[in-house]
Symmetry: C2
Subunit: 275 residues, 2 copies
């Protein structure tokens, strides 16, 4: 797998032109909420928002000061439609959006859906994948978030690249195969690491101690991998495969799935430390 | 399990007195290195360092400006001996240290070894457990690190509490059962989360992308749980148990243990989100 061979040198010339593009958001979830607000802040015209539910559509449209609808067949015209929805409904929605503005650029923000989802359906399309964990309740700065772009042709490439550059310092062209692996990496580093925090929170609860006591440890663990590789940064009983400690910990865990996770992760840590 | 019932009200009066105590470190690993340096900086006299290897003993003693030895039977006298060594060798070393200074206070820093390890061997003893991940190459500030203390009697409790307070704002008395669960929580939140970073690093490597692209995601994941519970903060395909995405990811993973980790963690995330 390699990065896509796109004309990066031509990209900057299209910067001003792309600011004239208007954008419509299909979806009002975590990604759509943060991305639309960042693009509005960067000077783009957000034409409207579609969501399945009135509350989501209205809440986001209110922050953007734009049109909203819950009827996918009643969109307003825009230069770019950004689909930021669950993978399972993307194709169905895409089909309906295309009918209304076949000449527009169609973009999705998913890590795991290949660009081929657009092929044969529309002429201009691309991917705009910001690699971050978004929750509506937590503000994020896009500046430092890597954005990975892929496109149907050079013109769309330039448009998407310059839009991405208007909100982030880290923009890369990347093909779909590479992006899928990147998405897997992001699930491991974020969703799985966060689940480790959840499992730890349960133990703190059982010990009658507040979760906040773990925050210095969680922060330091994240901070260390800015300086050391995570393999070098690894500490704890599993590195030495200290079975005495591992068995004491297992004796505290009654849930089968949590015991299996503990055993597998410990073995994997040990194997990775000594490979 | 409950916190131990120690006389917290009496603790502050012993602050000055405890600064007169001299300390000897058995062990020169990650914990001993950071803890001894913090205590020296706080004004304690570090009498010496023992390590199995010349290089570890000498390196740490040089930073502390103190005596060092690799012969456990040739220690110098001190008021407190802090044993910061692998769980598997602690009892054997403790036996040899006690012979030389039976009237001193003996302390260990392990999360998973109960205070009963000292019982019947010596009169004054305790636990001094700083909950943090320590690597020699990474400087840490103790100020924010929770330290958990347990002791043989009130006098030792006061001594250890005031020593802990001289380097940290978060000091608690905690019994051995509770500390073992706390240690399990720390392994989950730190060692397992860090291993998720390692697994992610391998995928980045396969995609030909630098690990540093993951840092904003890793930082945000840690930052979010300062505001939301990790369960509320959870995002990603496993929350919805989107089997289409899960199967695409599994198709990229060839190692059996990594596939099993991926499947178990995804199932556990889903169960925890919907409980």
């Amino acid at each position: 797998m390699t990065k896509t061979d796109q004309p990066i040198a031509d990209v900057n010339s299209s910067y001003c032109k792309s600011k004239e593009k208007s954008i419509f958001f299909i979806g009002a979830g975590n990604v759509a909420t943060h991305l639309s607000q960042a693009l509005l802040h960067a000077g783009y015209e957000i034409k409207g928002v579609y969501s399945r539910t009135v509350s989501s559509a209205q809440t986001l449209a209110d922050t953007l000061g734009c049109f909203w609808t819950t009827n996918i067949l009643e969109l307003v015209e825009a230069d770019i439609y950004i689909l930021s929805v669950k993978d399972s409904v993307l194709e169905e929605l895409l089909f309906k959006v295309i009918q209304q503005s076949p000449q527009a650029i169609f973009v999705h923000t998913a890590g795991s859906i290949p660009i081929s989802v657009f092929q044969g359906k529309v002429n201009k399309y691309g991917i705009f994948y910001p690699m971050q964990t978004f929750s509506k309740k937590c503000a994020v700065l896009f500046d430092n978030i890597p954005i990975f772009v892929e496109s149907s042709d050079n013109e769309v490439a330039q448009t998407l690249f310059s839009i991405a550059q208007s909100i982030s310092r880290h923009v890369e062209f990347l093909d779909s195969d590479c992006r899928l692996r990147l998405h897997l990496a992001s699930v491991l580093a974020c969703n799985f690491a966060n689940h480790c925090y959840t499992l730890a929170a349960q133990e703190m609860d059982k010990a009658g101690l507040p979760f906040k006591y773990l925050l210095p440890l969680i922060d330091e663990t994240a901070k260390k991998v800015h300086k050391l590789s995570p393999r070098e940064a690894q500490t704890g009983p599993a590195v030495r495969y200290d079975q005495n400690v591992l068995n004491k910990h297992l004796s505290l865990i009654s849930e089968t799935i949590k015991r299996d996770i503990y055993s597998l992760m410990s073995l994997s840590i040990h194997q990775n430390t000594h490979d």
